[in-house]
Symmetry: C2
Subunit: 346 residues, 2 copies
Amino acid sequence: MSTMHDVAQRAGVSPKTVSRVVNGESGVSERTRRKVDAAIAELDFRPNPIARNLRTGRTGLVGLALPHLSQPFYAELAEAIMREAERHDLTVLTELTGGVAEAELALVSEHGPYLAGLLMYPVGLSDEQARSVAQAVPTVFMSERAYEAPVDRVAMANREGVRAMVSHMASLGYTRIAALGADHTGRPERAAAHLRLDGYRDGLSDAGLPYLPELVCEVGTPDWDRQHGAEATRGLIERGVPFDALVAFADALALGALHAVQEADLTIPDQVAVAGFDDLDDARYACPSLTSIAPGTAQIAREALALLNDRMALTAPQNTGRLVVADFDLMARESTLGGVAAWRTA
Amino acid sequence: MSTMHDVAQRAGVSPKTVSRVVNGESGVSERTRRKVDAAIAELDFRPNPIARNLRTGRTGLVGLALPHLSQPFYAELAEAIMREAERHDLTVLTELTGGVAEAELALVSEHGPYLAGLLMYPVGLSDEQARSVAQAVPTVFMSERAYEAPVDRVAMANREGVRAMVSHMASLGYTRIAALGADHTGRPERAAAHLRLDGYRDGLSDAGLPYLPELVCEVGTPDWDRQHGAEATRGLIERGVPFDALVAFADALALGALHAVQEADLTIPDQVAVAGFDDLDDARYACPSLTSIAPGTAQIAREALALLNDRMALTAPQNTGRLVVADFDLMARESTLGGVAAWRTA
DNA sequence: TTGTAGGCGTTATCAG
DNA sequence: CTGATAACGCCTACAA
């Protein structure tokens, strides 16, 4: 590994001049610059980032904090972010928090001082904790929950997405549309559930349909997975509440619902239409393929890194948080439209 | 951020003594050590890893190179590795290679000198390239392909796993067992396909069943996904080849097969039993739930980090590669055993 | 058992 | 436009 010193000697200049060239600073004659560039190429010199960081205090390291990777939604988000970070020449340091505030905070106290920025999908963080995280390191949260703190955040179109989904179903003639994934605890970390329920009400009201509490299903846990989706759907069926459509607040729930509905020998979508939210790969490949809201993961990644860049450059407003809501897409598939094997060519 | 210097002043000793205490070196009196520890606690001092690294050349950074994260198998592997790395107090720097040799090599030339170690799931790397990667940085490959180079590798029980699966099916009375995912190009990067096909032949031979080429399906691409699994299965059905069981070399293929088989109005497992390999979450939750080989992801992560630790400590033999094959588990579920909705409580 | 001197590779400061 | 000098925070080598 050659150093700046080596390059300087070879080019017959001082190390500082090499530094200037490497960092594209002005105030170097064209002739000198060429000499230095040649020496750099000959020695295959690459600046040592560690030494640079020691001197400047800045790193090109960005932390990415996610609850899990084994849930496809997070994995797909992580992939989008890593690809985007690459475009910004940032190195990503991924940490799994398990959705526990403790771990979310530990990341900051552990690596915080040596991170140029942090992208976090927070779950357990309180308002106060979110503020202190953002104070310790330039941070962008990806979260459906609004924090009472001046922090940057990228969110999905939770409310508008579900609203559009209910409208979609209503326009297809469904009138008894159930909701799956509601939360009545009111706990702030369940914001996604609250917003999506709001969207559900909006959609009903747009269509002139009544809001019927008996069609609104809670899911036992905050874990929106297939199993709980199936259980809740079975409950709905067993209670004998008539319904002809089901909007789940997450694809995993919807996939479970698909299972439970078919188990009960109801046909999809003739007797019951089903839809989800997240547009996981699994949705496209489900059987029948699942109508879902695509939350714009790629856009979320793009916006998150754009916001973070501002923060890191201190270009961003200091005492106020910014919010970006990504555009959504309604992916209509067999579970509401009918047809067969659309994913043969999906 | 306080420095060793600050701590030294506060404790009334020299910086070197603080260094000794921090690094647990011997040759410090109990009294001094206590004074220093107290000062460290009071100032909440934490050694600056960047400065340390600059001096020692060592980092606690381990690279993790995977083709994708959007395929559940890789995401589950990544999660297992990150959790294991945490136990070793290593920080993981994840890079996505897309399975392209170019990107796999770029990671090394980019971050190589500043990585303490590298865990790579290589796809495009040639023998020669694998050797040069391992030479540049302590490396453990997670790969089914054997390299002609002295590199450490953790692999799955490809052959034994499929063999066991075929035996499982034969013991249930199936006699015309098809294979899905074979590769006849012989290209070394398709080693998993080759080994699993070997296991398929072993299993047939164990059961006294003939090997019938017409029951062996290739998949168009190296991408083992649902779509290709479904297509190949449709082909098999359309060709009119009688078969009563199907061993897919990956769960994604098997999930596609599940779809195609049901599409053809064949019942599972009565008319056709289906099984996969990987034991994805999706397998447990498929409909019917999918019998599969669990490749021991947790063990793979453990072994990979154990091997890497040796390499990094230079404890490992220098001119020879080590191979660890993880134990597998046959997860028998509805797609071969029958029964209904086992995953209700899975 | 403890301390001093020096340098890892880079960049900031200031002088030329 | 260019260069000398010092410093970032830590650790190695050697001395006391």
